[in-house]
Symmetry: C2
Subunit: 175 residues, 2 copies
């Protein structure tokens, strides 16, 4: 990881975590993976990220055990990247970062998150204020917020317009 | 912020948060500020960060409202950087990132965090599993963990060896 050398004197677990997820774009790749994005091209169009950067990030996240490469087609061979248990554990980081980002002047909520079982909006920490405790990702419902473009150009954003659960695979119909 | 341009198509609040706190070193500066570090030289020796980078990060965090510059000495003029309410709201991000970092192979806990009122170790989200809810920062007790160097070279690390509350100002005796 490129940050390792600079953070060498920082044994702190925050610094070690940043060696893995602190690089530019990395947390947005993880965010998309938690939203159900699995395929290289889907990350590419949704993030608008340079190809080489995306390839490097997917590789590094796979080495770090955050994503797992799975063959989904044999001929020609094609892999997808599925978020692991270790990757799911990053949800509280992303949730709290997103909640903090909403406080930036001019920010509009793009997505709302609710506990599917009771319909309660998630707390800042990804917890359910009514049921208590961290809501399992499969029970988190993601809905469009008022800031979301209702007519996006890329197919991944279009899939993500509909209410859905976290981790539910994004499937794009081939043209 | 340097990341702004690359994240321009990302209106998501996570992406917007990363424009502010996603740069190399920035979250470690915020971590230190929450640990009570306030002065340029103290950040410098504790982080082992290049001077120019530290100055840039402190400036950017002040502009973003995460830190507030306060004059503490008039002659010669000296300022310190105090974490704001907006900066305090980053604690759940750092706490969850640190909790995640502990799962990296080979990691040893450097610090333990407890709810001072009841002595319970904090949950992954900075919550108190016994009392419930996010523990206010002033009520978080920080203790040395087994991985912490018991005889560190820099004076800030020496101050941070003793049990103390988050936000309690780090005061270094001048030689």
């Amino acid at each position: 990881m490129a940050l390792g050398k600079d953070y060498a004197t920082q044994q702190c677990s925050i610094a070690r975590a940043l060696e893995i997820v602190g690089e530019r774009w990395t947390l947005l790749v993880v965010r998309d993976a938690l939203y159900g994005v699995r395929r290289y091209n889907d990350f590419l169009v949704h993030l608008g990220i340079p190809r080489a950067v995306l390839a490097t990030r997917l590789q590094a996240l796979t080495v770090a055990g955050v994503l797992e490469k799975r063959r989904y087609q044999e001929s020609p061979p094609r892999d997808e990247y599925v978020v692991t248990e270790r990757g799911r554990e990053l949800w509280p980081v992303l949730r709290s970062l997103g909640a903090w980002g909403r406080g930036i002047p001019g920010a509009l909520p793009l997505r709302e998150f609710r506990h599917a079982a009771c319909g309660t909006p998630l707390g800042v920490l990804g917890d359910c204020p009514v049921c208590g405790g961290l809501v399992p990702l499969e029970e988190v419902e993601m809905l469009p917020g008022e800031g979301l473009d209702p007519d996006p150009a890329d197919p991944v954003s279009r899939v993500l317009l509909s209410p859905r659960r976290l981790l539910e695979p994004v499937v794009i119909e081939s043209a």
